[in-house]
Subunit: 260 residues, 2 copies
């Protein structure tokens, strides 16, 4: 049964893209069939998987804009790693928010585009931009689960509140199957008081404590290096802490399912 | 002559808010009259200056939405630090993008709201969300200068290209007075290869090298702690590296002006 997981947080730079790219790689290494869908106009996940967008190549933008003539199979591309496929993004996606604003069913364009192939994968992981606008709503309207990376910093912790409101609004009005699978603490720096402080807050906050996953993703420069060489860290340096932590997160998700 | 400086970068988590809050504090400490304008619906700059939004308090959202009945003086609030004022933001600002979409002159709502008081300050610093949409365009339509914080990581470096396109589009079509004052390398971690690598790229890239400021903002946990206690780092721990670096950036901006 295909698991469709949105990775979302309105706060910028909390590790959404790194989480999508590395979970995708970890599941793929476990023999799962994985599709990564990049819904950020900055197309970092596309880059992170080493895919170059060539001129004329259809991307997720075409899929949601021209959802009659372009189908999922037109946009899916393989990556260098067998079993790990990608729906790439493109800078033009930024225009979609405005272009779709008056269209009926504008929140369901992504779902309509991907429904036909969803069953072909074990995992579909969706990267989102740092906003709660139409692109993110399209992802939440299609996904079954939400995984929330939360940097152990005060602003990221503060962003959870608004994100939960948005998730519940989508669940109520558009997608009753949506659930929050978990919050994963990211960019945890054990040398800093702030990181310990915010991790404590997450553990003591009754809204979040049951959702907080056991795996904590630590700051590890190998992760930033892997982004620089356009590879998931688990393929770039499989004995690094970054690799260990994302493997542990993948295992935790494989064995535990939605709590809400 | 008032300097109106937008701090912008579509990439998330590169230190836009921290830069606005700490430059504001540094200029204020130099005896300048400073106004910080928070244009991010996540209102991190508002928080970062220790301002709580009380129910019914008008914010920048009201200023751009109701630009006839609400004026700049209705929304400006003092902070704990004399000479440092704030136009606070609010989560409702997220709705403005959609609400203003069909309005004529929708890119100039912020400028219309603030023009009357601009002359009362030496510096007006504007925080922006991680996107290039209508809120950021409103900021770029009003500002005279853009300061671009760039985390020394590959995705942030990659974001500069699209950002420059947006800035030049606004300059050409809406605001001919707009110029890029500089790019400041942020979150620089001298222990990591990636940081050195990206700083080198910035220095060697002919599009960016002349704009790159001398000051480099280093990773310093005191900056994250200061966000946690809702104070600028230069007031929280004035002998920290974070404080030293932001003071150096403020001095560099005081003595050097637009290059484009
Ligand atoms: N655990 C980590 N250790 C070190 N660097 C990391 C880690 N996680 C992410 N990074 C780096 O931090 C930066 C931000 O991460 P990333 O781009 O994944 O965040 P994001 O939430 O997707 O950002 P955006 O909101 O802009 O889409 C990237 O340069 C990434 O390589
Ligand atoms: N030099 C630094 N050293 C340590 N921590 C930092 C530094 N600069 C920023 N931070 C922390 O990193 C996080 C991201 O910074 P900040 O929120 O200012 O970025 P931003 O670009 O405004 O993000 P967004 O795109 O979400 O608005 C914050 O928690 C902040 O406290
Ligand atoms: Mg991202
Ligand atoms: Mg910010």
């Amino acid at each position: 049964k295909t698991r469709i997981i949105a990775v979302a947080n309105e706060k910028g730079g909390v590790g959404k893209t790194v989480t999508v790219v590395n979970l995708g790689a970890a599941f793929c290494r476990e023999g799962k069939a994985v599709l990564v869908v990049d819904m950020d106009p900055q197309f970092n996940a596309t880059r992170g998987l080493g895919v170059d967008i060539e001129a004329g190549m259809p991307t997720v933008y075409d899929l949601i804009k021209e959802n009659e003539s372009i189908t999922a199979t037109d946009v899916i591309v393989p990556t260098k790693w067998k079993g790990l496929d990608l729906v790439p993004s493109h800078v033009d996606l930024a225009g979609a928010e405005v272009e779709l604003i008056d269209e009926a069913g504008r929140e369901n364009r992504l779902k309509e585009g991907l429904e036909s192939i969803s069953g072909e994968y074990d995992f579909i992981l969706l990267d989102t931009p740092p906003s709660l606008s139409l692109l993110t709503v399209n992802v939440l309207a299609y996904a079954k689960e939400v995984l929330i990376p939360c940097q152990t910093h005060p602003y990221a912790y503060a962003a959870l509140d608004g994100l939960f409101d948005t998730i519940f609004a989508v669940k109520e009005n558009i997608n009753p199957d949506l659930s929050i699978t978990g919050i994963v603490a990211t960019l945890f720096d054990s040398r800093t008081r702030v990181s310990h402080n915010i991790l404590e807050k997450l553990k003591n906050d009754e809204r979040y404590t049951d959702l907080l996953l056991d795996t904590v993703i630590r700051v590890n420069t190998t992760i930033a290096e892997s982004a620089d060489v356009s590879k998931p860290v688990i393929f770039y340096r499989k004995s690094s802490y970054g690799s260990t932590d994302y493997t542990s997160l993948a295992n935790e998700l494989l064995t535990h399912r939605n709590k809400i």
